[in-house]
Point group: C2
Chain length 240, copies 2
Amino acid sequence: MPNPTAAMLVIGDEILSGRTRDANMHHLAGQLTAVGIDLREVRIVSDDAPAIIAAVRAMSARFDHVFTSGGIGPTHDDITADCIAEAFDDSIDVRDDARALLQAHYERSGQELNTARLRMARIPATATLIDNPVSTAPGFAIGNVYVMAGVPAVFQAMVASVLPGLTGGAPLLSRSLRVMRGEGDIAGPLGIFAADHADLSVGSYPFQKDGIYGANLVIRGQDQERVDAAFATLEQLFVS
Amino acid sequence: MPNPTAAMLVIGDEILSGRTRDANMHHLAGQLTAVGIDLREVRIVSDDAPAIIAAVRAMSARFDHVFTSGGIGPTHDDITADCIAEAFDDSIDVRDDARALLQAHYERSGQELNTARLRMARIPATATLIDNPVSTAPGFAIGNVYVMAGVPAVFQAMVASVLPGLTGGAPLLSRSLRVMRGEGDIAGPLGIFAADHADLSVGSYPFQKDGIYGANLVIRGQDQERVDAAFATLEQLFVS
């Protein structure tokens, strides 16, 4: 049986203007190759609704899976979700499930869920959410299209959420712990923890915020009890 | 007046498989931005004739300029030239002008112009050649499409050959000198030479072959006499 095929659509002006160099394409290409899915085409388009809609329709019709990155943030030029809804003739509005995720996230961090941030809860009616263990605002899947963030750490975490479901494996459950220490401090004990939990996937997604280094540590597995137990151990290790 | 628009088509499996990370897209994006041409879309397709032909036709119709990279080498999977000819309903065969360039190049280097290398002289009948000061085998322009090599040093040299003609400047003439010394040895005197010839463009394209470092030094300018005089000086400097 031939391998399943895939395409990627990168949305945004940063790469086309030469300001930034692609990281997500390279990451996805490697991940897909590793699981035996053939990445056949990549398109990069700017924040332009007709271009996005046309590309999504063309690629969705031609390939088994389509992955998009970029354009799902809180600013006016984040138009990906609305374009995807239109490409699938679906309706779109702020959805209660996505709003609840954001509400809880911003309450925890003491920030306001303002109108701009609420944009990130605009999800097509028939889509299912994609877990974002790094910064909460979800991606979504509709038809054979997986809509993910452009920030590399978030993109990578979402790819890790999505891929097991495409390769016939059971969907992975995840729990994540935000640790306000640099990865250099974390790496030693985290490596031992990962070796002790070889049946789970343990990831570290570093960030820097207001000059402070931190990381989101993500545990993924198929069994909720195992994941919960490992999470409790992780908390003991890194939250004192 | 709005800026002219452009698109890029990257041809080949290396990036899609994750083996290599794109360099040409980033280079072209920066160069186009610098001269006020808007890069609106990039597509990456594999060595697949229908995909290449469809992409070239779609992009050529929609944008002012289209740049391609990859698939014009000597091996069986280098099918770009034939695909471009088909996209423009043009005929294609080994062309005398391109063959003469390759013949002279391989005679100088004592290598045989075999059947495989002769593939690089297959050029659509109505195309014009694009200068390749690094490794001789030419690119070509047909309609609004510029067909260039995938090897980054060659791609960059071809972009430098093509861009002035797109921005209303006079076409540049070039002469190149192959120097079998590393760039670290060359850089000092070459910097002084470039400063002494501020009306010309002076480029260095390094290579490594059989463990020996070298560089193709390229002089570009609008006036043949100035270019020739500068070339003579360059020879005195670096060929002893």
